[in-house]
Protein backbone atom coordinates (compact mmCIF):
# COMPACT_ATOMS: atom_id res chain seq x y z
CA UNK A 1 0.00 0.00 0.00
CA UNK A 2 1.24 3.42 -0.96
CA UNK A 3 0.22 6.40 1.15
CA UNK A 4 -2.64 8.30 -0.31
CA UNK A 5 -0.79 11.49 -0.92
CA UNK A 6 -2.56 14.13 -2.90
CA UNK A 7 -0.10 16.80 -3.84
CA UNK A 8 -2.88 18.04 -6.01
CA UNK A 9 -2.65 21.28 -7.88
CA UNK A 10 -5.52 20.95 -10.35
CA UNK A 11 -9.14 21.34 -9.52
CA UNK A 12 -8.45 23.99 -6.92
CA UNK A 13 -10.60 27.03 -6.78
CA UNK A 14 -8.53 29.32 -8.97
CA UNK A 15 -8.94 33.00 -8.50
CA UNK A 16 -6.96 36.17 -9.15
CA UNK A 17 -5.52 38.06 -6.18
CA UNK A 18 -7.78 41.05 -6.58
CA UNK A 19 -10.96 39.05 -6.82
CA UNK A 20 -9.88 37.09 -3.75
CA UNK A 21 -9.91 40.15 -1.55
CA UNK A 22 -13.16 41.36 -3.03
CA UNK A 23 -14.81 38.13 -2.06
CA UNK A 24 -15.94 38.27 1.57
CA UNK A 25 -17.38 34.78 1.41
CA UNK A 26 -14.00 33.26 0.69
CA UNK A 27 -12.51 35.15 3.63
CA UNK A 28 -15.24 33.93 5.95
CA UNK A 29 -14.71 30.41 4.74
CA UNK A 30 -10.98 30.77 5.54
CA UNK A 31 -11.74 31.97 9.02
CA UNK A 32 -13.98 28.98 9.58
CA UNK A 33 -11.48 26.46 8.26
CA UNK A 34 -8.62 28.04 10.18
CA UNK A 35 -10.65 27.90 13.36
CA UNK A 36 -11.94 24.40 12.99
CA UNK A 37 -8.56 22.97 11.92
CA UNK A 38 -6.39 24.71 14.50
CA UNK A 39 -7.07 22.35 17.38
CA UNK A 40 -6.71 19.13 15.39
CA UNK A 41 -3.44 20.41 13.94
CA UNK A 42 -2.12 21.47 17.34
CA UNK A 43 -3.15 18.13 18.75
CA UNK A 44 -1.27 16.39 15.96
CA UNK A 45 1.73 18.53 16.74
CA UNK A 46 1.78 18.00 20.49
CA UNK A 47 0.57 14.43 20.61
CA UNK A 48 2.63 13.07 17.73
CA UNK A 49 5.21 15.46 16.27
CA UNK A 50 6.64 16.59 19.57
CA UNK A 51 6.29 13.26 21.35
CA UNK A 52 7.98 11.39 18.51
CA UNK A 53 10.72 14.02 18.43
CA UNK A 54 11.36 13.73 22.18
CA UNK A 55 11.35 9.92 22.18
CA UNK A 56 13.60 9.74 19.12
CA UNK A 57 15.95 12.33 20.53
CA UNK A 58 16.57 10.44 23.76
CA UNK A 59 17.00 7.09 22.07
CA UNK A 60 19.17 8.83 19.47
CA UNK A 61 21.37 10.38 22.14
CA UNK A 62 22.03 7.00 23.71
CA UNK A 63 23.00 5.66 20.28
CA UNK A 64 25.14 8.77 19.74
CA UNK A 65 27.06 8.31 23.00
CA UNK A 66 27.65 4.62 22.31
CA UNK A 67 28.75 5.40 18.75
CA UNK A 68 31.08 8.15 19.95
CA UNK A 69 32.58 5.82 22.56
CA UNK A 70 33.03 3.13 19.92
CA UNK A 71 34.84 5.62 17.70
CA UNK A 72 37.08 6.60 20.62
CA UNK A 73 37.62 3.07 21.91
CA UNK A 74 40.71 2.32 19.86
CA UNK A 75 39.21 -1.12 19.16
CA UNK A 76 39.31 -1.57 15.38
CA UNK A 77 36.10 -3.58 14.77
CA UNK A 78 34.10 -1.20 16.97
CA UNK A 79 35.53 1.82 15.16
CA UNK A 80 34.65 0.25 11.83
CA UNK A 81 31.05 -0.56 12.81
CA UNK A 82 30.53 2.96 14.12
CA UNK A 83 32.00 4.50 10.97
CA UNK A 84 29.87 2.42 8.61
CA UNK A 85 26.72 3.23 10.57
CA UNK A 86 27.38 6.97 10.55
CA UNK A 87 28.33 6.91 6.89
CA UNK A 88 25.17 5.05 5.81
CA UNK A 89 22.81 7.25 7.79
CA UNK A 90 24.46 10.47 6.74
CA UNK A 91 24.81 9.39 3.15
CA UNK A 92 21.17 8.52 2.54
CA UNK A 93 18.03 10.65 2.74
CA UNK A 94 15.92 10.31 5.85
CA UNK A 95 12.86 10.00 3.64
CA UNK A 96 14.35 6.96 1.93
CA UNK A 97 15.31 5.42 5.30
CA UNK A 98 11.73 5.80 6.50
CA UNK A 99 10.42 4.14 3.35
CA UNK A 100 12.81 1.23 3.80
CA UNK A 101 11.75 0.73 7.41
CA UNK A 102 8.02 1.05 6.85
CA UNK A 103 7.42 -0.19 3.31
CA UNK A 104 10.56 -2.23 2.74
CA UNK A 105 11.00 -4.38 5.82
CA UNK A 106 7.55 -6.06 5.57
CA UNK A 107 8.99 -7.89 2.53
CA UNK A 108 11.15 -9.87 4.93
CA UNK A 109 8.34 -10.29 7.41
CA UNK A 110 9.17 -7.30 9.58
CA UNK A 111 5.96 -5.34 9.95
CA UNK A 112 6.53 -2.29 12.07
CA UNK A 113 3.72 0.07 12.99
CA UNK A 114 3.83 3.68 11.81
CA UNK A 115 4.89 5.32 15.07
CA UNK A 116 7.64 2.81 15.97
CA UNK A 117 8.86 3.02 12.36
CA UNK A 118 9.14 6.77 12.60
CA UNK A 119 10.87 6.59 15.98
CA UNK A 120 13.37 4.01 14.69
CA UNK A 121 14.15 6.12 11.64
CA UNK A 122 14.53 9.36 13.54
CA UNK A 123 16.55 7.76 16.36
CA UNK A 124 19.05 6.27 13.93
CA UNK A 125 19.35 9.64 12.27
CA UNK A 126 19.87 11.54 15.52
CA UNK A 127 22.32 8.86 16.66
CA UNK A 128 24.51 9.25 13.61
CA UNK A 129 24.52 13.03 13.37
CA UNK A 130 24.87 13.62 17.10
CA UNK A 131 27.63 11.06 17.53
CA UNK A 132 30.02 13.50 15.90
CA UNK A 133 28.94 16.25 18.29
CA UNK A 134 29.30 13.95 21.29
CA UNK A 135 32.67 12.68 20.11
CA UNK A 136 33.99 16.22 19.69
CA UNK A 137 32.60 17.14 23.10
CA UNK A 138 34.29 14.19 24.81
CA UNK A 139 37.57 15.02 23.07
CA UNK A 140 37.27 18.62 24.19
CA UNK A 141 37.39 17.59 27.85
CA UNK A 142 40.92 18.07 29.13
CA UNK A 143 42.95 14.90 29.64
CA UNK A 144 43.62 16.08 33.19
CA UNK A 145 39.97 15.43 34.05
CA UNK A 146 40.32 11.74 33.18
CA UNK A 147 43.56 11.60 35.12
CA UNK A 148 42.07 13.27 38.18
CA UNK A 149 39.20 10.78 38.07
CA UNK A 150 41.59 7.84 37.70
CA UNK A 151 43.79 9.18 40.48
CA UNK A 152 40.96 8.83 42.99
CA UNK A 153 40.58 5.22 41.87
CA UNK A 154 37.74 5.48 39.35
CA UNK A 155 37.36 2.99 36.54
CA UNK A 156 36.89 4.06 32.91
CA UNK A 157 33.10 3.89 33.17
CA UNK A 158 33.01 5.77 36.47
CA UNK A 159 35.27 8.49 35.11
CA UNK A 160 33.11 8.70 32.01
CA UNK A 161 29.81 8.83 33.83
CA UNK A 162 30.73 11.07 36.75
CA UNK A 163 33.36 13.38 35.31
CA UNK A 164 33.64 13.42 31.53
CA UNK A 165 30.09 13.03 30.21
CA UNK A 166 28.54 15.69 32.47
CA UNK A 167 31.10 18.16 31.16
CA UNK A 168 30.76 16.95 27.59
CA UNK A 169 27.00 17.36 27.91
CA UNK A 170 27.46 21.03 28.69
CA UNK A 171 29.67 21.51 25.68
CA UNK A 172 27.23 19.75 23.39
CA UNK A 173 24.00 21.34 24.57
CA UNK A 174 24.05 24.21 22.06
CA UNK A 175 24.61 22.04 18.97
CA UNK A 176 22.30 19.30 20.28
CA UNK A 177 19.46 21.65 20.97
CA UNK A 178 19.77 22.87 17.41
CA UNK A 179 19.45 19.31 16.20
CA UNK A 180 16.43 18.80 18.41
CA UNK A 181 14.71 21.77 16.82
CA UNK A 182 15.55 20.41 13.36
CA UNK A 183 14.19 17.06 14.41
CA UNK A 184 10.86 18.58 15.44
CA UNK A 185 10.54 19.94 11.92
CA UNK A 186 11.73 16.68 10.36
CA UNK A 187 8.89 14.80 12.07
CA UNK A 188 6.71 16.11 9.23
CA UNK A 189 8.36 13.31 7.22
CA UNK A 190 6.54 10.82 9.45
CA UNK A 191 3.42 11.72 7.47
CA UNK A 192 4.72 9.46 4.69
CA UNK A 193 4.66 6.45 7.02
CA UNK A 194 1.10 7.23 7.99
CA UNK A 195 1.73 8.71 11.43
CA UNK A 196 -1.18 11.04 12.17
CA UNK A 197 1.14 13.89 13.11
CA UNK A 198 0.46 17.50 12.32
CA UNK A 199 1.50 17.57 8.69
CA UNK A 200 -0.58 14.53 7.86
CA UNK A 201 -3.53 16.14 9.64
CA UNK A 202 -2.95 19.21 7.51
CA UNK A 203 -3.00 17.12 4.35
CA UNK A 204 -6.29 15.61 5.44
CA UNK A 205 -7.80 19.03 6.04
CA UNK A 206 -6.60 20.14 2.59
CA UNK A 207 -8.14 17.08 1.01
CA UNK A 208 -11.45 17.94 2.61
CA UNK A 209 -11.44 21.69 2.02
CA UNK A 210 -9.27 22.31 -1.06
CA UNK A 211 -7.60 25.21 0.73
CA UNK A 212 -3.90 24.25 0.62
CA UNK A 213 -2.48 27.74 1.05
CA UNK A 214 -4.43 28.45 4.18
CA UNK A 215 -3.92 25.07 5.81
CA UNK A 216 -0.24 24.63 5.00
CA UNK A 217 0.56 28.14 6.18
CA UNK A 218 -1.35 27.39 9.34
CA UNK A 219 0.74 24.25 9.83
CA UNK A 220 3.90 26.24 9.17
CA UNK A 221 2.88 28.77 11.81
CA UNK A 222 2.34 26.03 14.37
CA UNK A 223 5.79 24.56 13.65
CA UNK A 224 7.24 28.03 13.98
CA UNK A 225 5.44 28.62 17.27
CA UNK A 226 6.74 25.37 18.73
CA UNK A 227 10.30 26.00 17.56
CA UNK A 228 10.15 29.53 18.90
CA UNK A 229 9.21 28.24 22.35
CA UNK A 230 11.94 25.60 22.11
CA UNK A 231 14.58 28.18 21.24
CA UNK A 232 13.58 30.24 24.28
CA UNK A 233 13.98 27.14 26.46
CA UNK A 234 17.35 26.52 24.77
CA UNK A 235 18.55 30.02 25.68
CA UNK A 236 17.46 29.56 29.27
CA UNK A 237 19.32 26.27 29.61
CA UNK A 238 22.47 27.68 28.05
CA UNK A 239 22.48 30.70 30.35
CA UNK A 240 22.05 28.47 33.35
CA UNK A 241 24.88 26.16 32.33
CA UNK A 242 27.26 29.01 31.51
CA UNK A 243 27.11 30.26 35.04
CA UNK A 244 29.87 28.25 36.68
CA UNK A 245 31.89 26.68 33.92
Amino acid sequence: MVPSQKYQRNGLVQMSLSSFFENPERLNRWMDIAQSSFLPLLKGALLYSLTIAIASFFIGLIIAVLTALARLSGIKPLIAIARVYVSIIRGTPLLVQLFIIFYGLPSIGLMIDPIPSAIIGFSLSVGAYSSEVVRAAILSIHKGQWEAAYSVGMTYWQALRRVVLPQAARVSIPPLSNSFISLVKDTSLASVVLVPEMFRKAQEVVAATYEPLLVYVEAALIYWMICFVLSIIQDRIENKLDRYV
Binding site: E147, S151, G153, V163
Partner: protein
Protein backbone atom coordinates in the same frame (compact mmCIF):
# COMPACT_ATOMS: atom_id res chain seq x y z
CA UNK B 1 55.99 1.81 52.35
CA UNK B 2 57.04 2.49 48.75
CA UNK B 3 59.48 0.37 46.81
CA UNK B 4 60.23 1.05 43.18
CA UNK B 5 62.53 -1.41 41.47
CA UNK B 6 64.31 -0.76 38.21
CA UNK B 7 61.47 1.17 36.58
CA UNK B 8 61.91 2.00 32.92
CA UNK B 9 59.56 4.08 30.83
CA UNK B 10 59.80 4.55 27.10
CA UNK B 11 57.55 6.64 24.87
CA UNK B 12 58.19 4.95 21.53
CA UNK B 13 61.87 5.64 21.02
CA UNK B 14 62.17 8.18 23.82
CA UNK B 15 63.65 6.57 26.90
CA UNK B 16 62.40 8.77 29.73
CA UNK B 17 63.07 6.67 32.85
CA UNK B 18 66.20 4.55 32.71
CA UNK B 19 66.02 2.23 35.66
CA UNK B 20 64.74 4.04 38.71
CA UNK B 21 64.95 2.25 42.04
CA UNK B 22 63.86 3.93 45.20
CA UNK B 23 62.34 3.12 48.52
CA UNK B 24 60.58 5.48 50.84
CA UNK B 25 59.69 4.67 54.41
CA UNK B 26 56.39 5.42 56.02
CA UNK B 27 56.03 9.01 57.16
CA UNK B 28 58.96 10.32 55.14
CA UNK B 29 58.85 13.31 52.85
CA UNK B 30 60.89 13.01 49.67
CA UNK B 31 61.38 15.98 47.39
CA UNK B 32 62.34 15.39 43.76
CA UNK B 33 64.18 18.13 41.89
CA UNK B 34 65.73 18.21 38.47
CA UNK B 35 65.78 20.02 35.14
CA UNK B 36 62.78 20.14 32.83
CA UNK B 37 62.31 16.92 30.90
CA UNK B 38 64.32 14.83 33.34
CA UNK B 39 61.35 12.53 33.99
CA UNK B 40 60.07 13.77 37.37
CA UNK B 41 56.43 13.92 36.32
CA UNK B 42 56.72 10.60 34.52
CA UNK B 43 58.12 8.95 37.65
CA UNK B 44 55.26 10.25 39.81
CA UNK B 45 52.72 9.11 37.23
CA UNK B 46 54.30 5.65 37.14
CA UNK B 47 53.69 5.43 40.88
CA UNK B 48 49.91 5.50 40.42
CA UNK B 49 49.89 3.88 37.00
CA UNK B 50 48.72 6.96 35.15
CA UNK B 51 51.69 5.94 33.04
CA UNK B 52 52.33 2.24 32.73
CA UNK B 53 56.07 1.61 33.14
CA UNK B 54 57.68 -0.32 30.33
CA UNK B 55 59.31 -2.57 32.91
CA UNK B 56 60.10 -2.71 36.60
CA UNK B 57 57.89 -2.97 39.63
CA UNK B 58 56.10 -0.61 41.95
CA UNK B 59 55.00 -1.54 45.44
CA UNK B 60 52.95 0.74 47.64
CA UNK B 61 51.77 -0.62 50.98
CA UNK B 62 50.79 -4.19 50.28
CA UNK B 63 49.91 -3.66 46.61
CA UNK B 64 52.68 -4.71 44.28
CA UNK B 65 52.59 -4.41 40.50
CA UNK B 66 55.29 -5.98 38.38
CA UNK B 67 55.13 -4.28 35.01
CA UNK B 68 57.67 -6.63 33.47
CA UNK B 69 54.84 -9.18 33.43
CA UNK B 70 51.33 -8.61 32.24
CA UNK B 71 49.53 -6.51 34.82
CA UNK B 72 46.04 -7.49 35.85
CA UNK B 73 43.47 -4.84 35.03
CA UNK B 74 41.93 -4.91 38.47
CA UNK B 75 45.19 -4.26 40.26
CA UNK B 76 45.64 -0.79 38.77
CA UNK B 77 42.71 0.79 40.65
CA UNK B 78 44.06 -0.92 43.78
CA UNK B 79 47.39 0.83 43.36
CA UNK B 80 45.61 4.11 42.72
CA UNK B 81 43.59 3.77 45.91
CA UNK B 82 46.87 3.69 47.83
CA UNK B 83 47.97 7.02 46.40
CA UNK B 84 46.58 10.52 46.35
CA UNK B 85 47.72 12.80 43.55
CA UNK B 86 47.87 16.57 43.46
CA UNK B 87 48.28 18.08 40.01
CA UNK B 88 50.05 21.18 38.84
CA UNK B 89 46.85 22.46 37.22
CA UNK B 90 44.63 21.27 40.09
CA UNK B 91 42.33 19.37 37.69
CA UNK B 92 39.33 19.93 39.90
CA UNK B 93 36.00 18.78 38.49
CA UNK B 94 34.54 22.11 37.31
CA UNK B 95 30.93 20.95 37.40
CA UNK B 96 31.09 20.08 41.09
CA UNK B 97 31.33 22.32 44.14
CA UNK B 98 34.35 22.11 46.42
CA UNK B 99 32.65 19.70 48.79
CA UNK B 100 31.34 17.58 45.89
CA UNK B 101 34.84 17.40 44.44
CA UNK B 102 36.16 16.04 47.72
CA UNK B 103 33.35 13.55 48.36
CA UNK B 104 33.29 12.26 44.77
CA UNK B 105 36.01 9.63 45.23
CA UNK B 106 34.62 8.13 48.44
CA UNK B 107 31.04 8.07 47.09
CA UNK B 108 31.76 6.73 43.60
CA UNK B 109 34.74 4.50 44.27
CA UNK B 110 34.33 3.39 47.87
CA UNK B 111 30.51 3.56 47.87
CA UNK B 112 30.57 5.53 51.12
CA UNK B 113 27.19 6.83 52.23
CA UNK B 114 26.65 10.34 50.83
CA UNK B 115 26.00 12.11 54.10
CA UNK B 116 29.01 10.51 55.76
CA UNK B 117 31.17 11.41 52.77
CA UNK B 118 29.91 14.98 52.84
CA UNK B 119 30.69 15.34 56.54
CA UNK B 120 34.18 14.02 56.02
CA UNK B 121 34.72 16.23 52.98
CA UNK B 122 33.59 19.26 54.95
CA UNK B 123 36.04 18.37 57.72
CA UNK B 124 38.88 17.99 55.24
CA UNK B 125 38.07 21.30 53.62
CA UNK B 126 38.07 22.98 57.03
CA UNK B 127 41.42 21.42 57.68
CA UNK B 128 42.88 23.04 54.55
CA UNK B 129 41.29 26.35 55.54
CA UNK B 130 38.29 26.27 53.22
CA UNK B 131 35.51 25.55 55.70
CA UNK B 132 33.62 28.57 54.36
CA UNK B 133 33.93 27.63 50.69
CA UNK B 134 32.17 24.26 50.63
CA UNK B 135 29.57 25.22 48.07
CA UNK B 136 31.80 27.24 45.79
CA UNK B 137 32.53 25.98 42.31
CA UNK B 138 36.20 25.80 41.26
CA UNK B 139 35.73 28.78 38.94
CA UNK B 140 34.78 30.84 42.00
CA UNK B 141 37.99 29.99 43.85
CA UNK B 142 41.52 31.38 43.58
CA UNK B 143 44.32 29.13 42.37
CA UNK B 144 45.60 28.61 45.90
CA UNK B 145 42.13 27.69 47.10
CA UNK B 146 41.61 25.33 44.18
CA UNK B 147 44.88 23.58 44.92
CA UNK B 148 43.88 23.15 48.55
CA UNK B 149 40.61 21.58 47.39
CA UNK B 150 42.79 19.33 45.22
CA UNK B 151 44.75 18.26 48.29
CA UNK B 152 41.56 17.62 50.24
CA UNK B 153 40.16 15.58 47.36
CA UNK B 154 43.24 13.36 47.35
CA UNK B 155 43.18 13.00 51.16
CA UNK B 156 39.53 11.95 51.12
CA UNK B 157 40.53 8.54 49.80
CA UNK B 158 42.76 7.94 52.84
CA UNK B 159 45.83 7.30 50.72
CA UNK B 160 49.01 5.73 52.07
CA UNK B 161 51.09 8.15 50.04
CA UNK B 162 50.51 11.61 48.66
CA UNK B 163 52.09 12.52 45.33
CA UNK B 164 52.52 16.19 44.45
CA UNK B 165 53.55 17.28 40.97
CA UNK B 166 54.70 20.90 41.15
CA UNK B 167 51.65 21.83 43.21
CA UNK B 168 52.57 25.50 43.38
CA UNK B 169 54.07 26.21 39.95
CA UNK B 170 50.83 27.44 38.42
CA UNK B 171 50.15 29.81 41.32
CA UNK B 172 50.72 33.52 41.68
CA UNK B 173 53.63 34.03 44.10
CA UNK B 174 51.41 35.42 46.85
CA UNK B 175 49.30 32.23 46.84
CA UNK B 176 52.19 29.76 47.07
CA UNK B 177 52.52 30.09 50.84
CA UNK B 178 48.98 28.93 51.70
CA UNK B 179 49.45 25.70 49.75
CA UNK B 180 52.92 25.00 51.16
CA UNK B 181 51.56 25.57 54.65
CA UNK B 182 48.93 22.86 54.16
CA UNK B 183 51.60 20.52 52.82
CA UNK B 184 53.85 21.20 55.81
CA UNK B 185 51.02 20.38 58.19
CA UNK B 186 50.42 17.13 56.35
CA UNK B 187 54.08 16.25 56.66
CA UNK B 188 54.00 17.00 60.37
CA UNK B 189 51.05 14.68 60.79
CA UNK B 190 53.20 11.90 59.42
CA UNK B 191 51.88 11.60 55.87
CA UNK B 192 54.24 9.88 53.46
CA UNK B 193 54.82 12.33 50.64
CA UNK B 194 56.67 12.50 47.35
CA UNK B 195 56.86 16.05 46.09
CA UNK B 196 58.19 17.36 42.80
CA UNK B 197 58.82 21.05 43.34
CA UNK B 198 61.07 23.98 42.61
CA UNK B 199 60.42 25.39 46.09
CA UNK B 200 63.85 24.86 47.62
CA UNK B 201 62.75 26.50 50.85
CA UNK B 202 60.10 23.82 51.27
CA UNK B 203 62.62 21.10 50.47
CA UNK B 204 65.11 22.43 53.02
CA UNK B 205 62.53 22.79 55.73
CA UNK B 206 60.26 19.78 55.28
CA UNK B 207 62.01 17.08 53.25
CA UNK B 208 63.69 14.13 54.90
CA UNK B 209 65.42 13.47 51.65
CA UNK B 210 66.01 15.25 48.36
CA UNK B 211 66.44 13.41 45.10
CA UNK B 212 68.10 14.99 42.11
CA UNK B 213 66.99 13.51 38.78
CA UNK B 214 68.53 14.12 35.38
CA UNK B 215 67.94 12.46 32.02
CA UNK B 216 65.92 9.61 33.45
CA UNK B 217 68.32 8.69 36.23
CA UNK B 218 68.42 9.38 39.93
CA UNK B 219 71.75 11.18 40.05
CA UNK B 220 71.92 11.77 43.75
CA UNK B 221 69.85 11.44 46.89
CA UNK B 222 70.69 12.88 50.29
CA UNK B 223 69.35 14.89 53.18
CA UNK B 224 68.48 18.42 52.13
CA UNK B 225 71.25 19.96 54.19
CA UNK B 226 73.88 17.72 52.62
CA UNK B 227 72.57 17.88 49.09
CA UNK B 228 72.19 21.64 49.03
CA UNK B 229 75.42 22.40 50.89
CA UNK B 230 77.77 19.87 49.39
CA UNK B 231 76.41 17.96 46.40
CA UNK B 232 78.64 15.05 45.45
CA UNK B 233 77.85 15.07 41.77
CA UNK B 234 78.92 17.72 39.32
CA UNK B 235 75.51 17.72 37.57
CA UNK B 236 73.72 18.38 40.85
CA UNK B 237 76.09 21.25 41.55
CA UNK B 238 75.46 22.78 38.14
CA UNK B 239 71.70 22.47 38.57
CA UNK B 240 71.73 24.08 42.00
CA UNK B 241 74.02 26.84 40.75
CA UNK B 242 71.58 27.45 37.95
CA UNK B 243 68.72 27.92 40.42
CA UNK B 244 70.41 30.78 42.22
Amino acid sequence: MITITDVHKQFNTLHVLKGISLSVEKGKVVVIIGPSGSGKTTLLRCLNALEIPTSGSVQIGDVKLDFSKKVERTSIPKLRKQTGMVFQNYNLFPHMTAVENVMEGPVTVKKVDKEKARAKAAALLSKVGLGDKLDHYPAQLSGGQQQRVGIARALAMDPQVMLFDEPTSALDPELVGEVLKVMKELAQEGMTMIVVTHEMGFAREVADEVIFMDQGFIVERDTPSNLFAQPREERTRQFLQHLK
